[in-house]
């Protein structure tokens, strides 16, 4: 137990260290790279005095270390300031966009994991057969096809040509629900979700399927299953033992996948005009709305780090061997 606590502490320290480092890199990036963040809205009409006031207002006159400390504090307290263009706190914008992104990713990941697990067990079962080989090659190839091209094709076929599904967006125009929950529970939302979710799944299903296939093979060959049978345990107990062992690596895989998707789905959000955090980042960068861009980047990084952390912690709890080695 002590070992576990030590492991968790170490892992937490690493999380804080990496978060601070990523934030520092972000800070340096914006400071070192050419271009004045204020140049977006400061134009030749501004007088010297006005420019100075603006600089003061945004704290750009302070010594660098003070700017750094203030920036770190603001970021870590999720105080991202105000958008240059939308007169709302950046935090509100980012939270909303994150929810939208999650609304696309979570169903896709859940479905991918469930179906991928089933497919993977089947593959492990049919191991060595002709179908198994074909499916595995297919999965591997699927994994290497750029999913944004799959998205474009799917959109061309099912939306533009067949007209079965809407060409993008999260809800119909003017069809905004009153709350986020109301929106994602509406049929209209599900209708919009189908295509992006399918495209995400074509890629995300490959990794649980391939992973489960190999762990299933490994677990099926382990001696302890024989012993469990010899002990006279009922079949369902034995299956429970096998499943728990086979699912161990999947837990990590799913958590890492979730974290990664929060930044990896930028392209799909663009293609499907999905108002998520990735699309917001691209928009903000095109508009040179730096506070928003900064916040989007930070939350994406933070989500990756959090999910990796969760993966490691979960793994330590379900597999006692981890924390001790």
């Amino acid at each position: 137990m002590n070992n576990l606590r030590l492991y968790l502490l170490r892992r937490l320290a690493l999380l804080l260290f990496v978060t601070a480092a990523v934030l520092t890199i972000l800070f340096v990036m914006f400071k070192l790279l050419p271009g004045n963040p204020l140049s977006v809205f400061i134009d030749s009409n501004f007088s010297e005095e006005m420019i100075r006031r603006q600089k003061q207002l945004w704290g750009l006159d302070d010594p660098l270390w003070l700017q750094y400390v203030r920036y770190m504090w603001n970021m870590l307290t999720f105080n991202f300031g105000t958008s240059f263009f939308q007169m709302t706190p950046v935090r509100d914008i980012v939270v909303e966009k994150l929810l939208h992104t999650g609304a696309m990713i979570v169903p896709a990941v859940v479905l991918s994991v469930v179906l991928g697990t089933l497919l993977g067990s089947w593959l492990g079962w049919r191991r060595g057969s002709r179908q198994e080989g074909a499916v595995v090659i297919g999965l591997l190839a699927l994994r290497s096809v750029p999913s944004f091209f799959v998205g474009i094709i799917v959109l061309m076929v099912f939306s533009y040509n067949l007209g079965w599904f809407p060409p993008g967006g999260m809800v119909s125009i003017g069809g905004h629900g009153d709350s986020f929950l109301g929106t994602i529970l509406s049929l209209d939302f599900l209708y919009h979700l189908v295509l992006p979710c399918l495209v995400l799944m074509t890629r995300e299903i490959t990794s649980p399927a391939l992973l489960l296939r190999s762990t299933m093979l490994e677990v099926k060959g382990s001696d302890f299953l024989d012993i469990l049978r010899a002990k006279g345990l009922p079949e369902r107990r034995i299956v429970m033992h096998a499943t728990r062992n086979a699912l161990l690596p999947l837990v990590t895989d799913v958590a890492v996948m979730m974290g990664f998707l929060f930044q990896g789905q930028v392209l799909l959000e663009i293609i499907f005009a999905w108002p998520g955090v990735g699309r917001e980042l691209v928009t903000a960068l095109n508009d040179l709305d730096y506070p928003v861009a900064q916040a989007c980047f930070f939350v994406m990084a933070l989500i990756i780090l959090m999910f990796n952390f969760v993966a490691d912690v979960l793994y330590a709890f379900i597999d006692p061997r981890v924390a001790l080695s």
């Binding site: 302890f224 012993i227 469990l228 002990k231 006279g232 062992n245 061997r321």
Partner: protein, 338 residues
């Protein structure tokens, strides 16, 4: 009648292209409180017998004919539920690979308790007490009960396995190569522990091993298998006066303290593959004394003494063979000839 009896047992593995008879018409009986040692090289079918007794043959293996009688009742082909009632309570197993015999994600105590729960409905306190008792029996500290298997050394894991096997006070214990992968000193301790359990608790036991010396030291009776066949069985005079040349070879493979100067002799070559058995005596190819008769006709087990039988055409010449088998040259010549 024996507690556990095999009658003309045949076990087959279906392979990709055909089938292999791993156990061929083996008949054996273990009497009440007896400690039987089943010896043979790896792949001779001895572990298959252990698995068949517990009904845990791999998916491609099955008993094709013959009977396994437990206290007079054939247990081949019992339903899973019926078999589960016998497992662990009537017949328990000390497995070959204690290393991987425990599920890595549960504590040792949980896994022992699981074996109890599958068969009897004991209150928690009684379970705890029994598990403690078992840990004491095998010499493990009770504080280690909540450890995970990987926190145990190999020897400790095997002792925990023994504790788990004994927890329901089974009628028969099958120990399948219980010391594989352990270092020599630990092997000795484990075997000693099993022997102790046998003598103090008067357990009926079957020890499966490839090591003749282990059987000689521990068991009351011995059965020797070669390539799926029983070739010789009997009490201690199997070591003193072996009748089958294979047994003679095995006896040569362990050092004889009385005869220090003699070179250790081992049997050259490997047993024939299970799916390509020669027509005659299966040992003929490696036997230094084989004749044309041996190569064409399979010998039957025949009695050579009180409770002692061997399957060799030349049991009459056993005396002469025994002398020659002690010589290194005898076995070498055989190898060169073929």
């Amino acid at each position: 009648m024996g507690v556990l009896e095999l009658r003309d047992l045949c076990i087959e593995y279906s392979l990709g292209n055909g089938a292999a008879l791993a156990v061929d018409k083996v008949s054996l009986a273990i009497g009440e409180g007896e400690y039987l040692g089943l010896v043979g090289e790896s792949g001779c079918g001895k572990s298959t017998i252990a698995k068949a007794i517990l009904g845990i043959l791999p998916r491609n293996g099955r008993v094709v004919s013959g009977e396994i009688l437990y206290r007079g009742r054939d247990i081949v082909g019992l339903s899973v539920a019926e078999m589960n009632r016998l497992r662990w309570q009537a017949i328990a197993l000390i497995p070959q690979s204690a290393m991987n015999g425990f599920d890595p994600v549960y504590t040792v105590e949980q896994q022992i308790a699981e074996a109890i729960d599958a068969h009897v409905d004991w209150p928690v306190a009684r379970k705890r007490e029994r598990i403690d008792e078992m840990f004491a029996l095998v010499g493990l500290e009770r504080s280690r009960l909540t450890d995970y298997p990987h926190q145990f050394s190999g020897g400790m894991r095997q002792r925990a396995m023994i504790a788990m096997a004994m927890v329901l006070d089974p009628d028969v214990v099958v120990a399948d190569e219980p010391t594989t992968g352990l270092d020599v000193i630990v092997q000795d301790q484990i075997l000693h522990r099993i022997k102790q359990i046998h003598t103090s608790l008067k357990k009926t036991m079957l020890l499966i091993t490839h090591d003749m010396a282990v059987v000689a030291e521990n068991c009351d009776r011995i059965a020797v298998m070669y390539a799926g066949k029983l070739v010789e069985h009997g009490a201690h005079d199997v070591f003193e006066r072996p009748f089958h040349p294979y047994t003679m070879g095995l006896c040569n493979a362990f050092p004889d303290l009385a005869d220090v100067g003699r070179a250790l002799v081992s049997i050259p070559m490997a047993p024939p593959p299970l799916d390509a058995m020669p027509p005659g005596c299966r040992f003929a190819e490696r036997c230094p004394f084989a004749t044309d008769l041996c190569r064409s006709e399979e010998p039957e087990l025949s009695s050579v003494g009180e409770g002692h039988a061997a399957a060799c055409h030349y049991i009459a010449r056993a005396e002469e063979f025994r002398e020659r088998a002690r010589l290194y040259e005898t076995w070498q010549a055989g190898a060169v000839a073929t």
